[in-house]
Every structure is written in structure tokens, then in C-alpha cells.
């Protein structure tokens, strides 16, 4: 296993597939895309199985001095591993979701998606500052094309907004990166993560990175590109946007902002908390009044990502681990929700909530899956949503009980808009004849929904599979952050729990 450049291979497979898709006809392009993404899924699982938990921090490292000024340096830690798994897991499902829905220019569509996969995996695997930037920024082109060509009515506006917002955010980050590389004399990310920049410079650098990651995340008030992009993107585009692209922002915070600028992160934590609190309450309320299902889920994404940012800047292990699990869970759940919307959109070609109703009568299996994902989004114990949100809010509580209080209302509001959505779509009478005529899930749709449903339950019941690889890395990050950790207001004192044996003895004596 040691000699095989598995990460490069994972980047290469979809890239080659993308080029192949451009020159073949529609059905062959679909097959090539599916095969390429499945190969990557297998490689991802191989990566997971071979990942040595508790081993060195950076594994599967590769380094080729191919370029001037930066190098082809890849490698992953547990955090990157989990996000890579999420990406390779969602990709075949995206291809499946586009199997029938995309009729025009299939080759270009599949090529864009495969290119997207290469770039996403590159973002998580890059160990060189500028290699990371190239992958991070490169995702703009395929996503611009996906939204613009295969999107809905206002696709042009949405694609411009997406492109220019994210570009403006990232170019400032580039200047900060250039400064850092000049100051530290290296572009190696692991080295930079341990480099102590002067505190005065940290502030500006932090803000530059924040500009980029806040847009990608997206945080209030720069979130407005997201609902537009989601509504206009095709279903698979939404899945990948919500499932993986949004995670790049969180990954950026955890990989760059926090370890590289710990003091500045502590100073600006109030900013993050402020924006997160506004986002949780405001976007949840906005979600409550949406008529368009996709828009509703898009706003709920903003609210969930706000819990991620709050958890990240809690400066403790619960917060960090919780944020990671929320990202993972949100990736699966929101992807699944967009898919459930896409399934009925494919049948009726509308996303108006009022055009549906009573679907549990004619589409019981569909309603079952929808229920599961709704509950996971709400954060019901036993589903993936609960683990992450509970952990991150615990982390936030240690730092500020007020922030935790406000963020928790997001859970309540989340239950509000999600259950309201579910009631209007799945329960009640079959008001519309065309909606009543819709068939239940086909085998292809089963094949997409089942893995998503199972993974929601897996993360919810046994999160250890996903926390174990990140534990060591979160601990390392926590240790690095210790120098700047702000004083919390909850004044938690570790209780002196009576030893279990003593308890048992007391029980026996009674």
C-alpha cells in the first residue's frame, strides 16, 4: 500500500473520466461518470481502511516538486479523511440523480461533475498552500457551468452571483497566502499550522481568510448567493453544493484560520458568534415562510452551518468535534433532502410546496425516507443531526451560555420549519390529481436513498466510526488553541463523581 500514490490516483480517475465524457455520446458518458465515481468510492474506502488511527498525523503523503513556487504535495489527516469520504460517497449518488433528469448536453454535464470531484478532493488533500488555493478556486468554473447551463429560470443571475461572490472572497485570501509564504518561507501547510505569526499581522490575515471562508460557508450576511444558486441548480448540483462545497468553508476555518492564527481567532470569536447567532435565528425564520422547497432547505443549510462556525470557535474539543460531525451529518442530510425534493420535482416539475400534499398515501416509501431525513435535520436523537448539534452546543456552552442559548433556538425553529414542510408535503389529503398520480420510488431511487438513510442512522447510532479518526487531530488543534483560549462564562467545575465501586458498595449496603 505504501508505494501507491492513492490520493493522486483519486484525483486522476475523475479527471480522466471528465475528458472521456466530453468525447462520447450521452449514455456512454453517464456510464463513464458512474464508473469513475464508483472507483473513487472504492479508493476512498481503501483509504479509510488503511488509515492508521493514532498513527502519524499526516498520512498517505506525496510530494513532487513539479512547479516553481509550490509543489504537488498531498496528504491527509483524520479531518480531511472524513470530508473526502463524504465527497466520494455523495458523488455516485449525484450521478444517479442526474441519470434521467439531465437530457441535454449530458457529456459536458458529467464532465463538469467529474472535474468538480477532482477539485473537491484536491482541496481536502492538498498540503501546499497554493495547491490548495488552485483547487479551492478552480471549483468555480465547473460549478458556474453547472448552474448556468442546467439550472432553472433565473440561472444566469444565480451563476453570476455565485461566481463573483466567491471569487471576491478568495482573491483576498490569495494575498494573505502570498504574505504568509513570504513571511514563513514555506508553503507547506503542516509547517504553517505550527508557525507563530505576529499577532498584529494575524488579524489582517484572519480577516482575509475569513472573507473567503465566510462566503463559501456561507455565513450571514454573505449567504445570499446560496438560496439563489440552490434553487436554480439541478438536483445533483444542489446535493454537491450543500454536501461538499459548503464544507470547504468549514474545512478552511479548521485547517487555516484556527491553527495558523489562534490569537486572532480568539479576538474575532465574538464576530463569528454574532454572525452565527443572527444566522441561526434569522435564516430559520426566513426558512419558515418559504414556498419553494429547495429554498427552504437552502436557508436551513445556512442555519446549520452557523452552528458549525459557532462550534469551531468554541475553542474546545467538544465544539470542534461537534462541528465536524455537523458538517458530515449536514452533508449527508441536506444532500438527501435536496434529493428528495429532486425526486418529486422530476415527476411534477414544480417545487411549490402547495402543489403537493398527502404524498404519504401514494408514495409511502418516499414519505418514509423523507421523514427520516426531516428528523435528522431537526436533530432527533438516533439520527446524525443530534450527535453533531449536541456536541457543538455543549462546546459553545462552555464558552458562552448566551450564545449557546440563542443557537439552541435554531433547533427549535428547525423543528418548526422542517415539520411544517413535512406536514404540507406528506400529510393531509391528496389535493391535486397530478400529484396523486405520482409513482413511488423506482429501484434507481431506492439505490440512492438507501445508502443515505443508512448512513444517517450509522452516524446517529455509532458516531465513533467517524469521531475516532479525527480525535487525535482535534486534540492537536485543541492543544494549539490552548494558548489563546478565552475564559468561558459558564464556570464549569468538573464534578467529583463518586467511583463506581463505591456506588455499588453503597447500593449493596442498603
Amino acid at each position: 500500500m505504501a508505494g501507491l500514490p492513492i490520493l493522486s490516483l483519486m484525483l486522476l480517475v475523475p479527471f480522466v473520466g471528465a475528458i472521456a465524457c466530453l468525447v462520447v455520446e450521452a449514455q456512454a458518458a453517464r456510464r463513464i461518470a458512474l464508473v469513475a465515481t464508483l472507483i473513487d468510492l472504492v479508493l476512498g474506502v481503501v483509504l479509510w481502511l488503511n488509515y492508521d488511527i493514532g498513527g502519524p498525523q499526516w498520512q498517505f503523503t506525496e510530494r513532487l516538486p513539479l512547479f516553481a513556487g509550490f509543489s504537488w504535495a498531498l496528504g491527509i489527516d483524520g479531518i480531511a479523511l472524513v470530508l473526502i469520504l463524504l465527497s466520494v460517497f455523495l458523488m455516485p449518488i449525484c450521478i444517479g440523480a442526474s441519470w434521467r433528469a439531465i437530457e441535454t448536453r449530458v457529456g459536458e454535464y458529467m464532465a463538469s461533475f467529474l472535474l468538480m470531484e477532482t477539485l473537491m478532493l484536491g482541496v481536502f488533500a492538498a498540503q501546499d498552500l497554493f495547491l490548495f488555493y488552485i483547487f479551492f478556486e478552480g471549483g468555480l468554473i465547473p460549478m458556474y457551468l453547472i448552474i448556468g447551463i442546467w439550472g432553472g429560470k433565473d440561472r444566469i443571475y444565480a451563476s453570476y452571483k455565485f461566481f463573483l461572490y466567491t471569487l471576491l472572497g478568495s482573491v483576498l485570501m490569495l494575498i494573505a497566502m502570498l504574505w504568509m509564504a513570504n513571511e514563513a518561507g514555506t508553503t507547506d501547510i503542516p509547517t504553517l499550522m505550527a508557525y507563530d505569526f505576529p499577532v498584529s499581522a494575524q488579524r489582517l490575515l484572519w480577516l482575509a481568510f475569513f472573507a473567503s471562508f465566510a462566503v463559501k460557508m456561507p455565513m450571514w450576511p454573505v449567504h445570499t448567493w446560496l438560496p439563489d444558486a440552490h434553487v436554480q441548480a439541478p438536483t445533483a448540483g444542489s446535493v454537491i453544493l450543500a454536501g461538499v462545497l459548503l464544507k470547504m468553508g468549514g474545512y478552511g476555518f479548521i485547517r487555516f484560520s484556527l491553527p495558523m492564527f489562534p490569537q486572532a481567532s480568539a479576538e474575532f470569536a465574538w464576530l463569528i458568534f454574532g454572525l452565527s447567532m443572527v444566522a441561526v435565528v434569522y435564516t430559520s425564520l426566513v426558512a419558515l415562510v418559504q414556498h419553494d422547497m429547495k429554498k427552504l432547505i437552502a436557508y436551513s443549510s445556512v442555519a446549520h452551518m452557523a452552528i458549525v462556525t459557532a462550534g469551531l470557535f468554541a475553542f474546545n474539543r467538544q465544539g470542534l468535534e461537534g462541528a465536524m460531525i455537523v458538517m458530515l451529518s449536514h452533508g449527508v442530510v441536506s444532500g438527501a433532502l435536496f434529493l428528495t425534493v429532486g425526486l418529486i420535482y422530476d415527476r411534477l416539475h414544480t417545487r411549490e410546496i402547495d402543489r403537493y400534499g398527502g404524498l404519504s398515501i401514494n408514495m409511502p416509501y418516499y414519505a418514509l425516507f423523507f421523514m427520516l431525513f426531516t428528523m435528522a435535520s431537526v436533530g432527533l436523537p438516533g439520527t446524525s443531526g443530534f450527535i453533531g448539534e449536541f456536541l457543538s452546543l455543549t462546546g459553545v456552552y462552555q464558552l458562552s451560555s448566551w450564545v449557546a442559548l440563542v443557537c439552541t433556538t435554531g433547533i427549535i425553529l428547525g423543528a418548526g420549519y422542517m415539520l411544517y414542510l413535512y406536514r404540507r408535503v406528506a400529510f393531509g389529503d391528496l389535493k391535486h390529481a397530478d400529484a396523486a398520480a405520482m409513482p413511488d420510488l423506482s429501484w434507481r431511487e431506492w439505490a440512492m436513498m438507501l445508502p443515505l438513510g443508512l448512513s444517517v442512522l450509522w452516524i446517529g447510532v455509532y458516531p465513533e466510526s467517524f469521531i475516532a479518526p479525527i480525535r487525535q487531530d482535534v486534540a492537536a488543534l485543541d492543544a494549539r488553541l490552548a494558548q489563546a483560549r478565552p475564559q468561558g462564562d459558564s464556570r464549569l467545575t468538573p464534578g467529583k463523581a463518586a467511583p463506581a465501586r463505591a456506588l455499588a458498595l453503597r447500593g449493596g449496603a442498603r
Binding site: F67, I141, I156, Y160, V171
Partner: protein
């Protein structure tokens, strides 16, 4: 011995002059029937010149033995780098020209000759280390350029472009000469090395004026804001192969010349001109980006884009460091590839009557009718916008890296933020080609030569271009080092 050495160093220029004169005789004798043969011969001459100049890029292109004719001329690695780019651009322009002019029966034998003489002038420009030599080179290039702009003499727009170019170019030459005379008056010498020595220490008011006027004259030639007004009109009016030429070769020559003047002649007073260059750089980036938004003609759009790109290149100059110069050269190399690719793609846009399609609106839906052409044009656009993983990003990257290393972080931040404005109109073109419904205006076929050129430039612009970075970095670094011989 001295003459032998000098003639050896000047081999490419000698070849260009003799070949130009001989081909002129051939043209006079054989007439326009020989136009195609002369064009092919000219391309061959340029290739041989490239081979002759290439060794100077290595170790031979630095040190005092590169200066000849009593310090008026310097054949160093810096000049060699610029010359190679110029030859490549001129050759590309010659290759695409016959197909364009043949349709109007306007392919005359003068065309390749004018390009050759213009190239000779540019060779002098990039190698000149004396104000007189500089002016001779500049005028030789410009005079040929004025004629080229109005080459399609039956076309009103072309004649107008030539006239505008001539009047404004003459004005700029006047400004440049005025500045040169001031510099000469206050330093007592026309040689760059002499000016460098004389300007050290206190800077007199007269010399400051001289520097400002010289730079203003040069800013016209590189079409930097605020001396950019002629660019869109001339680029639109001139025949497209000529526009390809204008946007690439003379621009490279003028930029190299400006760099040499600023760093060599005025190198001792970098603080005096740095602010001018910083202003011109930022103004070019912003005006180039804003001006392009409203354009409906693809050639005008590319004209504004070239103004925009000059702004980025000037950021490298504003650093006044060897890294900055090296970054400029790398940017220029990538810029030449992007410009040639862009204009070759534009040349390939023909309608059913085999006329050029220039309106951007007519490109609607090109990705469905001509997918390869649309993909190439989209690559050019994203590359010009500097979006990774395309190679255009690398040019911006090195320039901003140099700026940050020279502690011009604010300049870099403003410049890169302004590049987002530029991205708007580049992606607009992509939007029209990819998102809009087809109008089927572009139906003409193109020959293999165009495809080969387009393919080659697209390959450079693709992510594969990054594999060139180490090589480019070494060459440009060596070239920049040879310019800093006085340190």
C-alpha cells in the same frame, strides 16, 4: 575584434534587415502573386532569428560583454526573452494573416515585410540602452505599425484606425522626445548607464519632468491608462491579424523597453517613478475592467482586456525588484499565449458568407454549434480572468507575489480585488456562449493552421501549463538578473 563581436551579437537583427530587404526586392519583382511565398519565408526568418537568439537566454546573456556599440545596445538575456516572445507573436500573426486577407483579395506582399521591419524595430527597442537607439527602434516599429493598421485600405474603419494610431502615436513620440531631451539636458548623456550615474543622489526638478514625460510617452505605447484611449478604436478598426499583432508583439516590446528605461536609466530614482507606475497600474486594471463591461464587439472587449492586463504587468514593474521583473516576464509570456489564442479564436468566427463575426451577441449558443471552438474561447476567457486551474492565474500569481515581497501589500490587495470586476465581463462571454440559446451565426469552417495555433495556445493555458513554471521561472529569473547588472 570589437566589430566581430558586435556583429555576432546582432545576428538576428542583421538577418531581419537583410531578409526584409531581399524579400522587398522579391516583392517588387514578383508582385502580390508572391505574397504567400514571402509570408512563408518571413515566418522561416523569424524562426531562424529565434534559434539565433535562444543561446543568449542562458549563461551567455549576462555581463559586460553583452553591451556593444559603446553602450548603445545590449544583447542580454532580458532582451533575448522579450525577443523570443516577439518572434513568436509576429510569426503567429503572419500565419493567420493570408486566410484573412485572401477573402478580400487584399493579401499583398507588403504585409509580411512590414511585420518583419516592425519586428526589427522591436528588437532595437528591447535591446536599446541609449535614448537615441531607443527612439530609432520605437519609430521603426511604430511607422510600420501605422501602415499595418490601415492595411485594409478599402475599409473605412481600417483607414480610420491607421490615422488615429498615427496622429496619437506621433503625439506620444513628441512627448517622449521632449522628456528625453529634458533628461539629456539635466544629465548630459543619452546612455542609460550614464543617466543612471548622473541621477544618483539629489533629483532636480527638470530631471523629474524628464522622467515623467518619458514614462508618459511610453505609457501611450503600452496603452496604459490614462494614455489608453486609442486602443479600443485601433484594435477594432485594424484588420484582425494586425490586431493580434498589436496586442502581442509591440506591447511586449514597449513593456520591455519601459522596464529597461525605468530600472536601468532611472533605476537610481526608483521612488520618483514608482508612484507613477503604481497609479498607471491600478488605473489600467480598473478602467480596463470597467470599460470592457459595456462592449458589444469582441475585439473591443479584448482591447480593454489588454489594457487590464498591462495594469497587472505594471504591478511587477512597480516593485522595482528583480523578482518583479521576473514576474513581469512570466506574465508577458503567458499573456502572449492568451492573446494569440484569443484572437485566433476570434479569427475563426465566421458567418455563412465567410465574413468575420465580431458582435459578442452573435456568439450565443456557440458551445452547441461549435463545441471545440467555444471551449477554446472559454479557456481563453477564464484564463484571462485568472481563474485557476487555468494557466492565466499563474501570471497574476507571480506578479502579486513579487508585489507582496516588495512590501506593496496594499497595491496587491487593491489590484486583485479589482480583478474581480474584470472577471465579470470574461464570464459574460462564457455565459453567452454556453448559457444562451444558439443563434447559428457562426458556421464558417477554419483551416488546420488556425486549429493548430489555437490548440497549442489552449494547451499552454490548460492546467498542463503549470508544468512549464520551473522552466519559465529559471529563464525569467536569469533575464531579470541580467537587467540588474548595475547593482
Amino acid at each position: 575584434m570589437e566589430w566581430h563581436h558586435a556583429l555576432n551579437l546582432l545576428l538576428p537583427e542583421e538577418l531581419l534587415s537583410f531578409a526584409g530587404l531581399i524579400l522587398l526586392l522579391v516583392a517588387g519583382w514578383a508582385g502580390d502573386r508572391a505574397a504567400r511565398a514571402i509570408t512563408i519565408a518571413s515566418v522561416l526568418v523569424l524562426v531562424v532569428c529565434g534559434v539565433l537568439v535562444a543561446p543568449e537566454l542562458g549563461g551567455g546573456g549576462t555581463g559586460p560583454q553583452t553591451a556593444v556599440f559603446y553602450g548603445q545596445y545590449r544583447a542580454d538575456a532580458f532582451a533575448a526573452f522579450a525577443k523570443l516572445l516577439i518572434y513568436a507573436a509576429a510569426a503567429a500573426c503572419l500565419i493567420v494573416a493570408p486566410a484573412f486577407f485572401d477573402r478580400f483579395k487584399a493579401m499583398r506582399a507588403e504585409f509580411p515585410l512590414l511585420i518583419l521591419f516592425s519586428t526589427l524595430g522591436m528588437d532595437l527597442m528591447v535591446s536599446a540602452t541609449d535614448l537615441i537607439a531607443l527612439y530609432i527602434g520605437l519609430e521603426l516599429q511604430s511607422l510600420a505599425g501605422y501602415v499595418l493598421a490601415s492595411f485594409q485600405r478599402t475599409d473605412d474603419r481600417s483607414s480610420e484606425a491607421g490615422l488615429k494610431y498615427f496622429v496619437l502615436g506621433a503625439l506620444a513620440s513628441g512627448i517622449l522626445l521632449f522628456g528625453a531631451s529634458l533628461v539629456y539636458g539635466f544629465t548630459g548623456t543619452t546612455s542609460f548607464a550614464g543617466i543612471h550615474t548622473a541621477l544618483a543622489g539629489h533629483l532636480s526638478m527638470g530631471a523629474t519632468f524628464g522622467i515623467v514625460f518619458v514614462l508618459a510617452g511610453l505609457a501611450f505605447k503600452i496603452s496604459a491608462v490614462p494614455f489608453h484611449m486609442w486602443t479600443p478604436d485601433v484594435y477594432e478598426g485594424a484588420p484582425t491579424p494586425v490586431t493580434t499583432f498589436f496586442a502581442s508583439a509591440p506591447k511586449i516590446a514597449a513593456l520591455a523597453l519601459t522596464t529597461r528605461v525605468a530600472l536601468d536609466a532611472f533605476g537610481a530614482q526608483a521612488a520618483a517613478w514608482q508612484q507613477i507606475v503604481i497609479f498607471a497600474a491600478l488605473a489600467s486594471i480598473i478602467v480596463g475592467a470597467l470599460g470592457a463591461i459595456g462592449q458589444s464587439n469582441i475585439k473591443r472587449l479584448l482591447a480593454y482586456s489588454s489594457i487590464n492586463n498591462v495594469g497587472f504587468i505594471l504591478i511587477g514593474l512597480a516593485c522595482a525588484t528583480a523578482q518583479g521583473t521576473s514576474a513581469m516576464l512570466v506574465y508577458m509570456a503567458i499573456y502572449v499565449a492568451m492573446t494569440i489564442g484569443g484572437f485566433v479564436a476570434v479569427l475563426m468566427l465566421r458567418n455563412a458568407d465567410d465574413e468575420q463575426v465580431e458582435a459578442i451577441a452573435d456568439l450565443a449558443g456557440l458551445s452547441r454549434t461549435r463545441p471545440l471552438l467555444a471551449a477554446a474561447l472559454a479557456t481563453v476567457m477564464f484564463s484571462l480572468a485568472g481563474i485557476p486551474p487555468l494557466f492565466g492565474f499563474w501570471g497574476k500569481f507571480v506578479v502579486f507575489q513579487a508585489a507582496v515581497q516588495a512590501h506593496l501589500v496594499a497595491l496587491a490587495a487593491v489590484g486583485i480585488a479589482a480583478s474581480v470586476i474584470g472577471a465579470f465581463y470574461y464570464i459574460k462571454v462564457v455565459k453567452i456562449m454556453y448559457f444562451d440559446a444558439p443563434v447559428d451565426r457562426v458556421v464558417g469552417r477554419s483551416d488546420g493552421v488556425h486549429w493548430a495555433l489555437l490548440g497549442a495556445t489552449a494547451l499552454i493555458m490548460s492546467p498542463l501549463g503549470y508544468l512549464l513554471t520551473i522552466w519559465l521561472h529559471d529563464l525569467a529569473g536569469g533575464a531579470a538578473a541580467s537587467l540588474f547588472h548595475f547593482v
